[in-house]
Amino acid sequence: MTAVADQKRKEAYFTASQSQLIWARFRKNRSAMIAGALLFVMVLLGLFAPFLSPYDPTIAGADKDYRNGAPQIPMFCDHNGCSWTPFLHGVKMELDMSTLRRNPVVDIETRRYVTLLPEGWEYRVGGLRVDLPGESFDFGWRGIAFTTHLFGIEEGGIHIFGTDSTGKDIFSRTLHAIYTSLAVGTIGVFIAFVLALIIGGISGYYGGWIDGFVQMITDAVRTIPVIPLFMALAAFIPDEWSSETRFFFISIILGLIGWPTLARRVRTHLLTERTQDYVLAAQLCGASSGHVIRRHLLPSFTSYIIVDLVISFPYMVLSETALSFIGLGLKDPVNSLGVMLQNVTKADVLLNYQWYFIPVIFFILLVLSFVFVGDGLRDAADPYSDRKS
């Protein structure tokens, strides 16, 4: 390396801001980078779920001619030769005489070609609907309707992850489930975060007896046993609530339970940051509390807070999944990862329909990538982790 380039590189390091340094350190962490890319893909999959799914993931989009069907992988070649367009063979439901079940049977002589950007089921973008208990509170906007999807097939159905017992497309369900789980997590984290910022902020900034009192309440909330609470709540949720209402309710509960850990971290950051010499230096210039908070406390915070949020996210997703799995959260017509997981508990599935497990892989990848990204960010954000004395 030439001296000039070397000097430039050094100057770039010297003038790099805190966030640039964090990013530079994060980039060096290979597992976190891979997890980050994976997470990005997952979020995109969730966000564009309706466009990417060839079928409506509810019962309306079920394929009655292909129930409990195996994954169909489009192919380019078969015994009749090759084609440039991927295709599937035809399928018929036939009665299996030995088990007396109607099972799909593949007809390898017919071909159905995959099509790009076909018109299909209608989905809406930007729609907003608030469905509170009680008709008068409901309001909403239907959003813009689209019917175009990424891929489809000429006739019959294409189910690359197979179908379930009612013929719903597992691929479409998985994508929508990722969206739902991420949404529950986001709402839960957001509520927990706002509460944590206010409660932890008050506690850390004022200190003294206020701090003691708030910490007492925080501890009290932390001691609430979660499972019995959820069971009670499950009993409380009226059956007539729509799946959306149920979904928001679950997110809010998760948020209300999740804040104490975050609040405690916010408080700790504030307490350590507040006693730093540079804060005293600002105060000795006559800086007001507002200036100290704006100029010193908040900036020192943001990196930590982002890290905390990313780290607490998988716990939200996990909680939602766990709740739905034990039947206390979302229920089957809704697509969430927990619901998908609940479907694999039957021995029948284990023996005959192993493709039900595909959503489980997505679930594990999602949680793992969150954990890795969170860890990577935490290592990168600690400005003193690599300072040698």
Binding site: Q276, G286, H291
Partner: protein, 281 residues
């Protein structure tokens, strides 16, 4: 000798340590009935071991620690303040005139601000300049005086070594043109080869900018070299104060003698004969 700049009259800083169920609440007497006269333009040394209350006294003079008894008066010819009873406006004005340099050059600089922003902060907070241009102008002036490279102003503190950071810290303290500066162990965290450089810088700044220093240190030999007047503190009280030469050549108090005798000499043939000081009840 001219009028003293800072007059400390039997100042105490007592911290409550909680109370027992019966009887009086216990207090920590961090500073106990201390009186000092810091002359204008002097380099006043305050020496003491850990826990002697020297830092608390320094901060009490700046009103960064409570004054629970006695009075601190500040008189620079323009203003005359009783520090313990300043109102908000007067305190803001006092902050311009009296500043602090910290011990730890790592903790004293916000890692999230550029050097320029760190040095400019006092000007911006106090509203001393009319605009960004004037602020930049004053930042550049003081940075040059503290021998900081002007290109370095764009950098963040992580780019600097301990000695350079201490120079940034000094520039921040001096940018609002104070008259009085408390330097609290300003060289204690630095290596020997860097320490001399910072001491010389402080000395030359004192001459050029007509400053008065309260130099707090645990290191007698450093104090002996830079200060013209020294006070020795022990357990919250002043044991002895005198002009530097007099104090080092002819120490009066037993505690001062024991401190002096405990300094290891550079000459291996002059063995350490530390006298142990036992305070009489």
């Amino acid at each position: 000798m001219t009028e003293p700049l800072v007059k400390v009259d039997s100042v105490s800083t007592h911290y409550p340590l909680g109370r027992s169920v019966f009887g009086k609440p216990t207090v920590l007497k961090a500073v106990d009935q201390v009186s000092l006269r810091i002359a204008r333009g002097s380099f006043f040394g305050l020496v003491g071991e850990s826990g002697s209350g020297k830092t608390t006294l320094g901060r009490a003079i700046l009103r960064a620690a409570p004054i629970t008894g006695g009075s601190v008066r500040y008189d620079d010819g323009e203003v005359n303040y009783d520090i313990g009873t300043l109102d908000k406006t007067a305190l803001r004005d006092y902050r311009k005139r009296a500043q602090l340099i910290f011990q730890d050059p790592y903790a004293a600089l916000s890692p999230r601000m550029t050097v320029r922003d760190i040095i400019a902060e006092p000007l911006e907070v106090m509203g001393l300049t009319s605009g960004r241009e004037e602020t930049d102008q004053r930042v550049r002036e003081i940075a040059a005086k503290c021998r900081l490279n002007l290109e370095h102003l764009r950098r963040f503190p992580h780019a600097f070594s301990g000695g350079q950071r201490q120079r940034i810290s000094i520039a921040r303290a001096l940018v609002c043109s104070p008259k009085f500066v408390v330097a609290d162990e300003a060289v204690a965290a630095l290596d020997v080869s860097i320490q001399a450089d910072i001491l010389n810088l402080l000395k030359s700044l004192q001459r050029d900018l007509d400053l008065t220093f309260l130099f707090i240190s645990h290191d007698l030999s450093v104090v002996a070299h830079v200060c013209d007047h020294v006070a020795v503190m022990y357990h919250g009280r002043i044991m002895e104060q005198a002009p530097t030469r007099q104090l080092f050549e002819n120490p009066q108090h037993d505690y001062t003698k024991s401190l002096l005798s405990a300094i290891p000499s550079l000459d291996p043939d002059e063995p350490l004969r530390a006298q142990v000081y036992t305070p009489s009840a």
